[in-house]
Each structure stands twice: as structure tokens, then as C-alpha cells.
Amino acid sequence: MIEVAMLAIGVLVVALTLGVPLPYCFGAALAVMYFIGDVTMKGMMLWGVQQLSNPILLAIPLFVLAGTIMSESGIAASLLRFVNAFIGHVRGGLGVVAAVSCAIIGAISGSGLTGIAAIGPLLIPEMVERGYPREYATALIANSSILGLLIPPSVTMILYGWVTDTSIAACFLATLGPGLLIMLSFSVVNLWMSRKFPLILDEKPSPRELAGEVSRRGLVAIPALLLPVIILGGIYGGIVTPTEAAAIAVIYSIPVGFLVYKGLKLPNFLAAGKEAATAVGTIMVMILFSMILSQMFVYESIPQKMVSAIFSVTENKILLLIFINILLFLVGMVVNDATAIILIAPLLLPLMTAIDISPVQFAAIMGVNTAMGGVTPPYASILYLGARVGNVKVTKVIPPAMFLILTGYVPVVFLTSFWPDLSLFLPRLFGY
């Protein structure tokens, strides 16, 4: 049976490569399981629909909508200006602004696309004007945009918690440490890279000017800065569940976008709603069929068979972790984050338990790897969106993006695997 499962995954990858939309790629894999593996489809649609109606998933459209509203309303712009007031004048400072702003936006949006969509159009032209190469600026912001998936809230962690039955609040905290570390490493790598760029810098402001500018822009940014406080404070302060926090984020950002920052008007609000619903629709129907595929695997005990197959090769924890990271890197190259989580997490969780990796640390391992998949070609949705926003050829963005991934991202991926405290410290602190 494990051969049929492998064949199904093979067909899935071939269909993906041909450019078939994801839901049908999973459908093709289901057909392999059904026609060749003789696994029943009876009752599977029922199972899939009941999975979709789980209220936990509701957080996904809401966090995506909150992010879309953010980029439309001018909330993001005010955050950007605020962060810029601190370090914009430092050599290489604008690159740091990119990483930090994407992290702050990550604390509002659950998706990896919001950063590049909201910050990219504002910051890329600015960085180019100041002497950064366009492809570098684009690569940096696209890479930082991934932080949306690592700084809570996060769509992938909601999915991980859901498919593995792990506390979503704990999963959120698990990727926070690695996320902040990645923000830091991008900032450092950027400062080092910036030495070579012919940058035009503002005059260094006096401390008094700096304080004045920071407080003025800070005042404007307060309604925007309150949003992460409401979301995370609400969840960890014991007021709301993650799903409810997502709803509050939407309800809060609508009047703030319409009345305070005024970037939100009826036409772009409707466009934002449609865009979020469509994005979520594509994810959810894909989830429906991938959950059925995953259920067929469970039905045939594929996860257990896989664990024993892998264990027959080695039981060495370090080798296995390296193997899993390579596997996840390869998976991330060809499928999107949500797909990778739904397919791989249930398959590998038994293996993780067997080598004493806690589900919460595994959340972080899956989280950083699948997020990185958003910028690793050939399937790199976040990088491609970046190329569109930054108005550069994809082939030009790939080299600087790869450089940032290798120097800034990959080290953190390995730290996440081999230094449990990085991901477990915060969840432990909150008692998970």
C-alpha cells in the first residue's frame, strides 16, 4: 500500500508541475488511491466537509482579511513611517526598516503575503531611490514578508494545530522565537551587504529632532500599533480564542481604515473582501481534498508504515532531523505552505514523537521550513508576488533572495531543529 501512496504523491507532483490548480492535483492523487489502491471514497466527501466546518479554520479568512485591509487602508504606511523614524538615517537602516516593519505587520496578519503586498509598493521605490539595487530591495522585503507566517498569528500554525490536535496558542509562540531571530539575522546581513551599495543618506538628525520625529509619527501609528496588542493581548490575556481575536482584528481595522487612516473606501474595501474570500476559497477547497488524501493515508496506516520504513534505515535523531529538514526544503520548493503542513505534519508527527521531539517544537520546525518554501523556487509565491510588486524579473530576484536565505534563514532553520529552547522557551513561559 505504501507504494500506491508514493505513486499518488508522484502523480500529485506531476500534476503540480504541469500547472494544474492545487485542488485538482489532490483530486488526481485521490483518484490513484481509489482506482489503484482500492481505497473507498464512500463517506469521504462527508468527512471532508465536516473538517471544513470546524470553527477553528474560521480564523484563517479573518486574519487574511485583516491583512488585506491593512495594506489597503494606510495602516501599514503609518507603521512603516514610525519604524523609519528610528533607523531610517543609519547606513543600511532602510533594509532594517523593511525587516522590522514586516515583523510588526506579521503580528496583525496571518499570511506571508501581507508584508510584501503592504510594504513593498511603499518601500521598494524608496530604497531604490536611496541607492539599493532594485532586485536586492525586492528580495529583502519578500524574504522579510515570510515573517507574517512566523510572528503570530499565523495561518500555517492554525492549520498545524488543527491537523495535529496541538494548542494553537502554543504553536503561535513556538515560531515567535525563530521569527524574531530571522528578523535579526536579515537585519545584520543587510547591514553587512549595505556597505557595498552607493547609498544616499539623510543627515544625521540631532537627538532632539529624532525624539520629535519619533513621537510625532508614533502618535499617528498608535491606532495601528494597538492592533497587535489587541490580538495577542486578547489571546494570551485570556479574553478571546484565536478565532475570536481574528474577528476582532477585522472589526477593529474596518473603522480605523475608513475613519482614521482614510485609505479605505467602499470600492477597495469590497475589493479587499473579495480578494480575501477568493484567496481563502482556493486554500479551503485544496484543504478539503488534501484532508481526504491524508485521511486515506491514515486509513491505510501509511504514517506508521513510513516510520518503520525510515527507522529501518536509521534511528539516529540528528541524522533524522537533518533528513527531515532536507525533505521539508524539497517539499517547500514545489508546494505552498498550507499544503505542506496538511500533508506532511500528520505523516511525520509519529516519527517526531518516536525521537522525542515535542509537537510544539515540531510546529516550529514545520513553521520555519514551510514559510521558507514561499521564497524558494520553482514554486515561490511570495517571491513572485515580490517580483510583480517590485517590477523586476523573477530571474533577477532569485540570486539575492537565495543569498539571503542561505545566510539569514537556513542557520535559523537548523537552530530551530537542534536547539529546542528556541521554540519551547516562550510556550513554556506561558505554561503550555
Partner: protein
């Protein structure tokens, strides 16, 4: 059409957000239990997902991993690849549609009800077959357009 879709989808997502918000207010501020609110929210939620997906088919914006496209240089090659993709989508989608139909007939027969208000779940179960059918119609439309492009040699 576009405006109608925008209003419908935005409306659905806002209803969902408002429902969750009311849940918080009644529990945290008013300390009153509202029974059955979460089960009524399932209706707009499932329709939101399914119609969102149908709209993605309409706009041809479903997630694809166009890996091969990068290596194909000619317009004609791209069109041929798109045709292959749509044909696979149609074949697989229609097979899935038959199972969605099977499920719909089951849902009609057993007529399940939600746990506290006894709303028939059929009204969201039926979304699947309708959504998949719409997706097939739009996919067939794209296929026809690609074939036309191939015959006339004019890019859309």
C-alpha cells in the same frame, strides 16, 4: 458581475466576523450564553469557502505551481500546457463532482440537523456540489478559450 461577486463575498466574510464578535461580547461583556450561534455561523462560513473557490475558478486565480512554464519559451507551448492543465482539471474535477453528488444525495436522504437549533445541515452540505459544478463550468470556459487561442494563434 464583478460587483455582485464582491458584495456577496465581502458580505459573507463580514457576517462571519460579526458573528464571532457577538460571541465575545455576549460571553465577556454581557456574561450571557447565546446558544446555537456557533452552529449558525457554519452556514455563511462554508458558503464563503466554496463561493470563494468558485470565484477563483472564474478569475482563473487558483494556486498553481507553474514549474514547467518557466522552461517553455513559446506562446504556443504555454497555450498547449494550459490546455493539458485544464483537461486534467476537468477530468479530475468531474470525477470529484460525481462523489460530491453522491454526498449531496446522502445529505438529502438523512437530513441531518445542527445540535441545538436543529437547522438542516443540508443547506451548507449542498454548497459543495454547487461549488464544484460552477468550478467545472468556469474551467470548461477557460479550456474553450485556450483552444480558440491555439486555433487562431491570437493570445488572449
Amino acid at each position: 458581475m464583478n460587483r455582485f461577486v464582491s458584495i456577496l463575498l465581502t458580505g459573507l466574510i463580514c457576517v462571519v466576523a460579526a458573528g464571532q464578535f457577538v460571541q465575545v461580547i455576549t460571553r465577556y461583556v454581557l456574561e450571557l450564553p447565546v446558544m446555537g450561534l456557533e452552529e449558525t455561523m457554519i452556514y455563511p462560513t462554508v458558503w464563503l469557502y466554496i463561493l470563494g473557490s468558485a470565484n477563483a475558478s472564474r478569475e482563473n486565480s487558483h494556486i498553481r505551481a507553474n514549474v514547467l512554464e518557466i522552461f517553455i519559451k513559446t506562446e504556443k507551448g504555454h497555450t498547449l500546457l494550459a490546455i493539458v492543465g485544464e483537461v486534467i482539471s476537468l477530468a479530475v474535477g468531474i470525477w470529484l463532482l460525481t462523489w460530491a453528488w453522491d454526498f449531496t444525495r446522502y445529505a438529502w436522504r438523512v437530513w441531518r440537523e445542527s445540535p441545538t437549533l436543529y437547522f438542516p445541515t443540508f443547506y451548507f452540505d449542498v454548497a459543495l456540489v454547487i461549488g464544484l459544478a460552477l468550478m467545472m463550468v468556469f474551467t470548461a470556459g477557460h479550456l474553450v478559450a485556450h483552444i480558440r487561442t491555439l486555433r487562431t494563434g491570437v493570445a488572449r
